[in-house]
């Protein structure tokens, strides 16, 4: 068996961590100043950054289980990266505090201010109360936490495994766990994003909402992993592991998830457009007016059409640097997509903005940088803690060989 100690993460990561923390720290100070002058906007921008970067954490957990379920060389080479991504969960709990406080003190989310006889509040009763909202989020984190803990524990056990049989047994256990847990994962994500995002607009609802995020966060994770892999590819020890074929495979998954994202979004639009019911159409009507309309068109063109056409090309998926730049582009569009979901929702302070008016705050740029800097600092720290590939995995050699093939 290969020795995992030969696959230590490159030491340059330490320098990147410092940069990430520095940038994130400065941006965090800026957001703190912004929060002093406009608390509601700060919380909304924080939510934008939280959902975007949190998507990489929760998405990593989903992809981690997915690769245990499907097997395959791509799963072996990204396993330690998504494991590190999932271990950012404690940070996501800490970063959630501003949102919980925002709900508790009624500084964000219109539903915290609606009169009890509002039709959206009548039927939801105790479900839509601040304390129960916070309690539910705690439950989501606890459920995610169990999954993250067990999967990472087995990953570590496998690195320490002495024999192939032992390592195979651990792999089987992780695979068996991932099947049913994937269902629970999708349900938890659905409940979580309904609470965190859909309730921003308390009078609107969509049943595909959860799947939009399961797919979107999966896409974000693959794009992020490709960037990390492209960076690792130039350095020891991953230059001896990664091959064109690995990038090709992940490129195909990016293509598939780009399409799934478009498919789910269009399904949501088509059903609401066909039904033409006033309580549903308002959400889209706001987003088809003024500045929001341009963002919507940009999303269709640059979150779907453009990356879709590029990713169709085989040669492009096989070049690490090119694929990583497409990944970066899609990630940026993911952030724009989140802004498109969050931006037009009604605000608590009625005097601040007309409902649905187009508005971009400077904090919408700074808060994602703040969350991102801190997140990357934490993520890279987790990445350094363990060998960068599961060298004891029974399929490790096979996976390395697969990458060098044609």
């Amino acid at each position: 068996m290969a020795n995992p100690e030969n696959y230590k993460a490159p030491a340059e990561i330490g320098g990147l961590r410092t940069v990430a923390l520095g940038v994130g720290g400065i941006a965090l100070l800026a957001v703190a100043v912004g929060a002093y002058f406009n608390t509601e906007q700060a919380i909304r921008s924080w939510l934008l950054g939280y959902i975007f970067w949190g998507g990489l954490c929760f998405g990593s957990l989903g992809v981690l289980m997915l690769q245990y379920l499907t097997g395959g060389a791509w799963g072996v080479v990204i396993r330690r990266i998504v494991e590190a991504g999932s271990r950012t969960l404690p940070l996501m709990v800490i970063l959630f505090i501003p949102l919980a406080l925002g709900v508790y003190f009624g500084k964000a989310y219109e539903w915290t201010h609606l009169p009890p006889d509002d039709y959206s509040m009548v039927h939801r009763g105790a479900y839509m109360t601040s304390w129960f909202w916070i309690l539910r989020s705690a439950i989501y984190f606890a459920l995610f936490g169990i999954m993250v803990y067990l999967l990472n524990k087995w990953g570590r056990d496998q690195d320490k495994a002495g024999t192939v049989e032992e390592s195979r047994l651990i792999l089987e256990r992780a695979s068996r766990f991932s099947g049913p847990t994937m269902v629970i994962y999708a349900l938890v994500v659905t409940f979580a994003v309904v609470d965190w995002l859909m309730t921003l607009d308390p009078h609107w609802f969509s049943t595909i909402w959860g799947l939009l995020f399961v797919a979107g966060w999966g896409l974000s994770t693959f794009c992020f992993c490709v960037i990390v892999l492209a960076w690792l590819m130039d350095r020891s020890p991953m230059n001896a592991v990664l091959g064109k074929k690995h990038f090709h495979d992940i490129g195909k998954l990016m293509l598939a998830l780009t399409m799934v994202w478009a498919y789910f979004n269009f399904s949501q639009f088509l059903i609401i457009w066909s039904g033409n019911l006033p309580e549903e159409t308002g959400w889209f009507l706001t987003r088809m007016k003024g500045g929001w309309a341009y963002i919507g068109i940009a999303l269709i063109l640059f979150h779907f059409v453009f990356p879709y056409l590029l990713l169709l090309k085989r040669d492009l998926k096989r070049q690490a640097k090119l694929l990583a730049s497409i990944g970066g582009f899609i990630l940026f569009m993911r952030l724009v997509d989140m802004f498109y979901q969050i931006g037009p929702t009604p605000r608590v302070d009625p005097g601040m903005l007309e409902k649905g008016a187009f508005y971009v705050s400077w904090m919408d740029f700074v808060a994602p940088i703040a969350v991102g800097g801190i997140w990357l600092w934490w993520f890279l720290g987790e990445l350094m803690k363990r060998p960068i590939v599961p060298a004891n995995d029974p399929y490790f050699e096979e996976a390395v060989e697969h990458g060098q093939g044609h």
Partner: protein, 177 residues
């Protein structure tokens, strides 16, 4: 018959020998060549210098044709030929046109993929001269074969045969047309 040859075939024991021989054949400048193996050999495309198929581009064109056909069909029916109001929507309602157009995109692309693949491989092919070599049946079991066709520009019977014999082959056969 018998006088006219389809080509010359060499038999090999291992995949490595086949790939090495294929490289030698490619480097000698032969282009009308083919290799036969009981299992897929990923290196063989490169070793024989086989160019990438243009099929993916044809499939893309098929998909675009399907998309245009789908939109065109619905525009023709719902806007030009027989406009009726459905659900109070305009005659030209793009969101409603997307699912059928999407399906036609897939359908046309799939048709081009399947039939294009068959056509470009020359399939179905009820007769093929390579089966005139009795030992060729082993290509589905344990032996590896390399063929240079007679229509190759560089083909010259005695010279090509001598070249094939120098390739470390088990045996070299004439393949009757």
């Amino acid at each position: 018959m018998g006088s006219k040859l389809h080509g010359i075939m060499a038999e090999f024991d291992t995949a490595t020998e086949l790939v090495d021989a294929a490289r030698a054949v490619r480097d000698a400048g032969y282009t009308k060549t083919d290799a036969f193996s009981p299992f897929p050999l990923h290196e063989i495309d490169e070793a024989l210098g086989i160019k990438r198929s243009i099929l993916p581009y044809l499939i893309f064109a098929g998909g675009v044709t399907g998309l245009c056909a789908g939109i065109g069909l619905q525009v023709f029916v719902h806007v030009i030929e027989w406009p009726i109001i459905v659900g109070g929507r305009p005659h030209f309602s793009l969101p409603a046109f997307v699912p059928p157009a999407y399906e036609l995109t897939i359908l046309f692309a799939a048709f081009v993929a399947v039939f294009g693949m068959l056509f470009m491989n020359g399939l179905p092919s009820p007769y093929h001269p390579v089966f005139n070599v009795p030992r060729f049946a082993l290509a589905t079991r344990e032996k590896f074969f390399l063929l240079i066709e007679a229509k190759d520009e560089k083909y010259d019977y005695s010279e090509t045969r001598k070249f094939m014999e120098g390739l470390n082959a088990q045996e070299v056969f004439d393949v009757d047309e």
